[in-house]
């Protein structure tokens, strides 16, 4: 390796964003209650996931909250071995996209299944989860 070329270190900057969730609070609160809620447009009937306060199809802002089933089928997955900066403290994880029986798709971690046993088309359950750090999330688990 050649000697590194000279550089000047910039002033460090740490950024944290305060993200509004007032329009999706039912979803986030639902996780604490052990439920996964999403929105259904009262005007055109479109079921959305992720939940949306405003319907991108008919532009109505009149949405109702409905509870989703936990029955899903894996459409695709990947085992993430090299992790981004803010996930360095975690073990490698599997990310999957599952299609729920209601027809909407969800992206989440798939837990408790080895990579060699993970298959497209396998049936899984989608469960809400409050992590040990207090993060509100959800995960797929084998049936």
């Amino acid at each position: 390796m050649a000697t590194p070329l000279p550089t000047l270190k910039s002033r460090p900057l740490t950024l944290t964003y305060e993200i509004p969730i007032s329009k999706t609070h039912k979803f986030w609160n639902g996780i604490k209650e052990g439920k996964i809620y999403t929105t259904k447009c009262k005007k055109c009937g479109k079921l959305s996931f992720p939940p949306v306060a405003d319907c991108p199809t008919c532009l109505s802002s009149d949405a109702e909250w409905v509870e989703l089933s936990n029955e899903a089928e894996i459409e695709t997955f990947t085992y993430v071995a090299i992790l981004p900066a803010t996930f360095q403290k975690y073990e490698p994880y599997t990310i999957a996209i599952g299609k729920l029986k209601e027809g909407v798709r969800v992206l989440a971690w798939l837990k408790d299944v080895k990579l060699e046993n993970t298959k497209v088309g396998m049936r899984v359950r989608l469960l809400p989860k409050v992590t040990s750090e207090g993060m509100l999330t959800m995960e797929f688990l084998p049936v």
Binding site: P50, I82, P84
Partner: protein, 388 residues
């Protein structure tokens, strides 16, 4: 809309460029583009700069670059379309001239990606989907986004990890012949298959490197082509752009990119040609699976038959449709905002029959080339058709 030609191109050396800052790197592409066209910054009233940014210190890359390259005073815009930012800048410069608003314009693509560490760049690119729903809790990375497509494509069409490795082997082979490429060495299928898993099924050699680089393209009207006495203008024959959902979960399937298909169809309609007329192409191979999906989305083969094209060697020089014979993003490197302009640099040189070395010059009859440039995971799609 009037006819617009590419009259000058330039490309910096791609690689780990700790010797230059953003503007100095852009200069290495802009100055040769001036020389190629036989003009200077004073002849250029409009600048579109493509750069995704966030990993280098400047917030206004267009302004610092324009000043450094002698373009201050020109109309200036910074274009962002993630990994297709260079094509967005090219399209913006093209439209400025095609509309008649200006007679000459320059598109500059530049990215300085190696001023932050590896996990940070993986984080910043991973956030380029939908931070709120897909990154915040799940830490998805860019290799992981394309790995989701690879898994789906393998399950549906029987594409294999060996097929993916063949894309990498081909692109490394041509990069080794391209003086501006980041990697200058060939690899074997074994090297690729035995490399470390990044996001299964994608391994190190399925992924493009983190690259610094710049590229520039000067566009002009037909009158200016005559006035500047340009001997080999390369004409923009068709341009298409489209988009896909931010949430991957709002897509119908993971075996292709809707934005790419829509952009290609628009570009072909505008150019009045079909995929079989194209003689050389650059496709957005940020990951090997992306090149296989590109063959299908552009229409070089039917959906699901992409792997067959690479197995048969049809995308090599001498094959049915040579793709990424500059090394592609995989081995030439992918300085995000520079890639779109660098595709135009390569195709312009191919159409002028100037590719070096000669083994990577594609034989031409119709003189038609196509650039397929994707931003994000099909969040943005740009397809451009060029004709000499």
């Amino acid at each position: 809309m009037r006819k617009v030609a590419i009259i000058g191109v330039g490309n910096s050396k791609f690689g780990a460029r700790q010797d230059v800052n953003l503007a100095e790197l852009a200069f290495e592409a802009v100055k040769p583009a001036y020389g190629d066209a036989g003009i200077t910054g004073k002849d250029i009233p409009f600048v579109a700069l493509g750069s995704a940014g966030g990993w280098y210190e400047e917030t206004l890359p267009a302004v610092v670059t324009a000043e450094y390259c002698g373009l201050t005073g020109a109309g200036l815009v910074h274009c962002e379309a993630a990994c297709a930012s260079g094509s967005a800048a090219f399209a913006t410069a093209y439209l400025d001239v095609a509309s008649g608003h200006n007679d000459v314009a320059i598109a500059i693509g530049v990215e300085k990606m190696r001023e932050v560490d590896g996990p940070t760049i993986l984080e910043l690119i991973g956030r380029a989907g939908y931070y709120f729903w897909e990154f915040h809790n799940f830490g998805i990375t860019f290799p992981a986004y394309y790995a989701l497509h690879a898994t789906a494509h393998m399950a549906k069409y029987g594409t294999t990890q060996e097929d993916l490795a063949l894309v990498s082997v081909k692109n490394h082979k041509y990069a080794a012949m391209n003086p501006v490429a980041h990697f200058q060495r060939e690899i074997t299928v074994k090297d690729a298959l035995e490399s470390a898993v990044i996001a299964w099924p994608l391994k190190l050699y399925d992924c493009c490197p983190i690259t610094d680089g710049a590229s520039a393209v000067i566009l002009a009207s037909e009158e200016k082509v005559k006035e500047f006495k340009i001997d080999t203008p390369v004409w923009v024959a068709g341009l298409g752009y489209a988009s896909g959902t931010a949430n991957l979960t709002n897509r119908e399937n993971y075996v292709g990119l809707t934005a790419a298909r829509a952009a290609a169809s628009r570009a072909f309609r505008e150019a009045g040609v079909s995929p079989h007329d194209i003689e050389v192409a650059t496709a957005h191979d940020c990951f090997t699976i992306a090149e296989i999906m590109a063959y299908e989305d552009i229409g070089f083969c039917k959906k699901g038959e992409g792997a067959k094209l690479i197995r048969e060697g049809q995308t090599e020089v001498g094959g049915k449709i040579p793709v990424n014979v500059d090394g592609g993003l995989k081995a030439k490197g992918h300085p995000i905002g520079a890639t779109g302009c660098s595709m135009m640099y390569e195709l312009t040189r191919q159409l002028r029959e100037e590719a070096e070395k000669r083994q990577r010059q594609v034989p031409l009859k119709k003189y038609l080339a196509l650039a397929h440039n994707i931003g994000g995971t099909g969040h943005y799609g740009y397809v451009t058709i060029l004709r000499r």
